[in-house]
């Protein structure tokens, strides 16, 4: 288990009788960005705060670069955190905010200011030092918060939904900046978000949490293409979940029947019988053998969205640009591109 910048061994948290986090193991390798992804209340922020030292784990061990920090206070751990609200000290100017951690660690004030100034340059805010946080835009405040955490050169940098207060456009450019910075400086980052697009865009690995436990961990591609559960599939982008029948399994390939359709997919541990099949909306092609009726049609510019009523329940289909429009109420057939469909492994499902 060792060798990671951060290692969690059976770390759990309960508040009285309420269980916030079931005991879990996690390793973050040096120089990587790992995202904790999940719906609100899944325990991702609790986990982050345990690592930060803002709360104490009720069980398990937290190792930072091999050293047990479970009982250490926040200030004694070599980690920094960027807060959702930025938490910039409103009574200190930008430079003093950034220098705060250095001064706390005993660096002389003059030197701390120099280093803070340099770090402000790194995040593109050179010359803003004398302003008060309230005199900056949201994006600039965000950068100050990052600079303030960066300047300490921590072993591990924590981000708690850092982009949720920004508008969509800014969010996209900020997340690219964070990813670029992380890769340029080789930072180890634990990043919390509930936005899967954000997670996909910046992560080396993603940990999906559900009800205080890890639902699945892996690279963005693994999670998207081989979700361990309908929940993970649904959380990693739009997905249609249907019940299908596995007719036969041979050499790891399953023969799957959905109504009149027949698909050959990796079995992923499924045996003959009922199974969950996840179908991405872009994998549904209109004009196939299985009957369906269009109940809603929406034109989105780059593509068109259709909600189909089928024998397997409503399905969402996305068709790229040029396709011929179908009006609501028209009967269409559909079939499925096997590349965009995946069987949910039975035993994994049990495990959950």
């Amino acid at each position: 288990m060792s060798g990671g910048a951060l290692t969690l061994e059976g770390v759990g948290k309960r508040y009285g009788v309420v269980r916030a986090l079931k005991p879990l193991d996690l390793v973050v390798q040096p120089g990587t960005l790992v995202t904790l992804l999940g719906p609100s209340g899944c325990g991702k922020t609790t986990l982050l705060r345990l690592v930060a030292g803002l709360e104490t784990a009720t069980e398990g061990r937290i190792l930072l670069g091999g050293q047990d920090v479970t009982q250490l206070a926040a200030g004694e751990r070599n980690v920094s955190m960027v807060f959702q609200s930025y938490a910039l000290f409103p009574h200190l100017n930008v430079l003093d905010n950034v220098a705060y951690g250095l001064v706390s660690s005993g660096v002389k004030r003059a030197e701390a200011r120099l280093r803070a100034e340099a770090t402000l340059g790194t995040v593109g805010l050179a010359g803003y030092g004398a302003r008060l946080p309230s005199e900056l835009s949201g994006g600039q405040q965000q950068r100050v918060a990052v600079a303030r955490a960066l300047v300490l050169e921590p072993e591990l940098l924590l981000f708690d939904e850092p982009l949720s207060n920004l508008d969509t456009r800014l969010r996209r450019s900020m997340r690219e900046e964070i990813r670029a910075l992380q890769q340029r400086l080789g930072l180890t980052v634990l990043y919390v978000t509930h936005d899967q697009a954000e997670a996909m865009a910046i992560s080396d690995r993603i940990v999906v949490l559900r009800d205080g436990a890890i639902a699945q961990a892996g690279t963005p591609r693994e999670l998207y293409e081989q979700p361990a559960s309908v929940f993970v599939a649904g959380f990693m982008g739009e997905a249609n979940a249907v019940r299908a029948r596995v007719l036969a399994v041979a050499a790891g390939q399953a023969e799957v029947a959905l109504g009149a359709l027949r698909l050959t997919l990796p079995a992923r541990g499924c045996g003959p019988g009922e199974a969950d099949l996840v179908v991405r909306p872009e994998a549904i092609r209109l004009g196939g053998a299985e009957p369906a009726t269009v109940t809603r049609a929406t034109y989105m510019g780059s593509h068109a969205e259709y909600v189909l009523a089928t024998a397997h329940g409503p399905l969402l289909a996305m068709l790229p640009g040029g396709g011929e429009p179908h009006a609501a109420g028209s009967a269409v057939g559909f079939d499925i591109d096997p590349a965009g469909a995946v069987l949910i492994g039975q035993e994994k499902e049990e495990e959950r």
Binding site: G53, L54, A73, G75, M81, S85, F89, G101, P133, E135
Partner: protein, 715 residues
């Protein structure tokens, strides 16, 4: 193996200094460091007492210190040290062993010890912090030694200065009277007809003081709440000119020493007062002496507590979102209906809160009933006279005090429930676009009809009372004079320099010094407690909060009696010293510091502290560099309040003053009792001026928060 560390943790140094270098006991005659190894055993350090003077009961503490030095991070030696200090303090008193079984065990002891002094205090704190530090290292308090130390310190101080005295007083309730058992004495005191009689319902005689007190408190609270509501509505919801002046007027009673209102009322409404004389001269009416007794005390208390109710209610009235009433008017409600069906119900919990605050204030009021009560007795005056009057019965005082405590606690519990339910007051973070709606005309007229004459009356009462400082014999000879000021505050130049020859200088100096010392301690402890309660999570947090708030419900008289009972004997022998007065001020006013701290803290985003924590700041540094600068308004409130209360309080300190440490209010009440009103009022006037000055000075010293353009966080 012992783990020696260098430098040693500073609590260890503190404990060592206390045991080895500083005189252990409170100095009886003078204080000099050179005497810590001297011949006078009582002036020496614990080590010297043990080694040179045969006081073997110090050896366990010294041994614990050695163990702590060897294992400075371990829990057991530190706990041992605390226990050893406690044991020696309790085992040996002023007359040798303090319990017979100790004497049986160790043999007769021809020695005694005085109260704990500098050395003892340092050692106790040292061992305490070694203990909390060791606990924190074991993972308690999230491993934060500063938090652990803070909680330990607060718990110790509250135990010593609140819980212990109150319990000591309650124990006195059952002190046996001659010829009675303890239980019979208790029963007799509790079932006393003077306490519980209901005779006044059927006959024109006095009822038991409990019913007097409750009736008075209920009436005063109702009156003050109604008036406070009228003022609050007028100030926030009318275009009344002079609203600022009205606000100022309501602050005046807060900084007024007790008695001023009572004296002003006598001069105005007394039998020989202006109103009566005018009525008699003009109409031949004899209005009599109604001011003495229930009516007068009621009137004075309404004067005194209306500002308190107003200050509570103005927040409530301002907190009702205008959008609520606007919505109601959009739904075809008349302005009157919108007010009565929407605004008023929303204000109700706030009104109930104001009522309960005024109720408790009336319950604990001493100054007004003592000046205006006549035959009419309430609990606070009965307690006072039970102790100092001809009865000389601590037991009865203790029973009355505990009855008062129960009522106060009941009101306090009720208030907490009411305030907890207040959450539906519609104060949201969003900026409401609406303007505060104007009051419906009938309500406005009614409020004005009540409030404006009252405001006028307040001005007249103050003017009358303060006029007494500038005339020869108050109520008799109205020749203008500054004689009273000269008698109280004369200054003389002599060869030796300036001589403060006025009679009031001594008590004024003491009052300002002690209030000036107590205020920052109160504010610091209050804010520390608020920060611990709001931001830290530790076992016993709720208990600590309850204990802190409990002090608020302990009436001053009760506290004063409990203090002299408790702190006259070693180990804490504080009567006659300034420390007992300081402790009284600090612990009486602590809850207010905690409250203003908690209120301010709830408006500070928690992630600010957390951000600082993750930036390597220690908890102490977080408090100093982030929390405190952002809490400046709360600091000002706490400082001002602690200072003003320390200067104006009378009921608690009347038992605690001594020759060296006389307080201004006690000086004043002595003059009032002697009928020397001129000097008393001159003194009050000077105090009011000084307090206004002090409030300004505190504002200046603490300074403003600098937040840039978004400085909208309310105080």
């Amino acid at each position: 193996m012992p783990r020696l560390s260098w430098p040693p943790p500073w609590p260890l140094l503190l404990a060592a200094a206390g045991l080895l270098l500083l005189p252990w006991h409170y100095p009886q005659d003078g204080f000099a460091l050179v005497s810590v190894w001297g011949e006078d055993a009582d002036a020496t350090s614990a080590l010297a007492q043990a080694a040179r003077h045969g006081r073997f009961w110090f050896w366990p503490a010294l041994a614990a210190l050695a163990l702590c030095a060897a294992w400075p991070r371990a829990l057991a030696p530190a706990v041992l040290g605390l226990a050893a200090v406690l044991a020696q303090a309790l085992a040996v008193g002023v007359q040798g062993w303090s319990a017979p079984w100790l004497e049986a065990l160790f043999g007769a002891l021809d020695d005694r010890q005085f109260g704990i002094g500098l050395g003892g205090a340092c050692t106790t704190l040292g061992f305490l912090w070694l203990t909390t530090g060791a606990l924190a290292r074991r993972g308690a308090f999230r491993g934060d030694r500063f938090v652990a130390g803070g909680v330990g310190l607060l718990a110790l101080l509250i135990l010593l200065f609140t819980a212990w005295p109150v319990l000591r007083l309650l124990a006195e309730m059952a002190a046996p009277r001659e010829g009675f058992t303890a239980w019979a004495s208790l029963a007799e005191r509790l079932l006393d007809r003077k306490l519980l009689s209901l005779a006044c319902v059927v006959q024109p005689v006095g009822c038991g003081v409990l019913w007097n007190t409750l009736l008075l408190a209920a009436c005063s609270a109702t009156g003050a709440t109604l008036l406070g509501l009228c003022f609050a509505l007028l100030v926030t919801r009318t275009g009344l000119p002079g609203r600022r002046a009205l606000r100022m007027l309501t602050v005046l009673p807060l900084i007024t020493p007790p008695f001023v209102i009572g004296l002003g009322l006598i001069l105005l409404f007394g039998r020989a007062g202006l109103v009566n004389q005018a009525a008699e001269a003009l109409f031949g009416w004899e209005l009599g002496r109604w001011i003495y007794g229930f009516d007068g005390v009621f009137l004075a208390q309404v004067f005194a507590f209306t500002p308190t109710a107003f200050l509570v209610l103005i927040g409530v009235v301002e907190g009702i979102s205008p959008a609520m009433e606007e919505a109601a008017t959009m739904l075809r409600a008349t302005r009157m209906r919108a007010f009565t069906s929407v605004a008023l119900p929303l204000m109700l919990p706030g009104i109930a809160n104001a009522w309960l605050v005024a109720f408790v204030e009336s319950l604990t009021d001493f100054g007004n009933p003592v000046v205006l009560g006549g035959s009419f007795g309430v609990l606070s005056t009965e307690i006072f006279f039970a102790v100092v009057g001809a009865q000389q019965e601590f037991g009865r005082a203790a029973v009355l005090a505990s009855v008062m405590l129960v009522v106060a606690l009941g009101a306090f519990a009720l208030q907490r429930r009411v305030v907890a339910r207040r959450s539906y007051v519609s104060l949201t973070g969003k900026g409401d676009a609406g303007l505060p709606p104007q009051l419906p005309a009938p309500v406005r007229r009614a409020a004005m009809a009540v409030a404006l004459p009252w405001a006028g009356l307040t001005v007249i009462v103050y003017a009358m009372a303060l006029a007494g400082a500038f005339v020869k014999v108050w109520g008799r000879d109205w020749t203008p004079t500054l004689e009273h000021f000269r008698r109280a505050f004369a200054l003389e130049w002599s060869a030796g320099g300036l001589i403060f020859s006025g009679g009031a200088w001594h008590s004024l100096g003491t009052t300002l010094l002690l209030a000036g010392i107590a205020a920052p301690i109160t504010a610091a402890m209050g804010l520390l407690a608020a920060w611990l309660l709001a931001r830290q999570d530790f076992r016993g947090r709720t208990l600590l909060e309850f204990a802190l708030m409990l002090t608020f419900a302990v009436p001053g008289t009760v506290m004063g009696v409990a203090y002299i009972l408790t702190f006259n004997l070693p180990p804490l022998e504080l009567t006659g010293t300034a420390v007992i007065l300081l402790a009284c001020f600090v612990f009486r006013n602590l809850p207010v510091g905690v409250r203003s701290g908690l209120a301010a803290m709830s408006q500070l985003d928690r992630s600010l502290d957390e951000a600082a924590l993750t930036l390597r700041a220690s908890s102490f540094r977080v408090l100093r560099t982030v929390v405190l600068p952002l809490l400046k308004p709360a600091i000002v409130t706490a400082l001002v309040y602690a200072f003003v209360r320390a200067v104006t309080t009378v009921s608690a300190v009347i038992f605690l003053v001594s020759a060296e440490y006389e307080m201004a209010t006690v000086f004043i009440i002595n003059r009032v009792i002697n009928g020397d009103y001129g000097v008393a009022i001159a003194y009050c006037a000077v105090l009011i001026l000084l307090m206004v000055g002090a409030v300004g000075l505190i504002q200046l010293l603490v300074g403003q928060r600098r937040l840039g353009r978004r400085a909208a966080v309310p105080a």
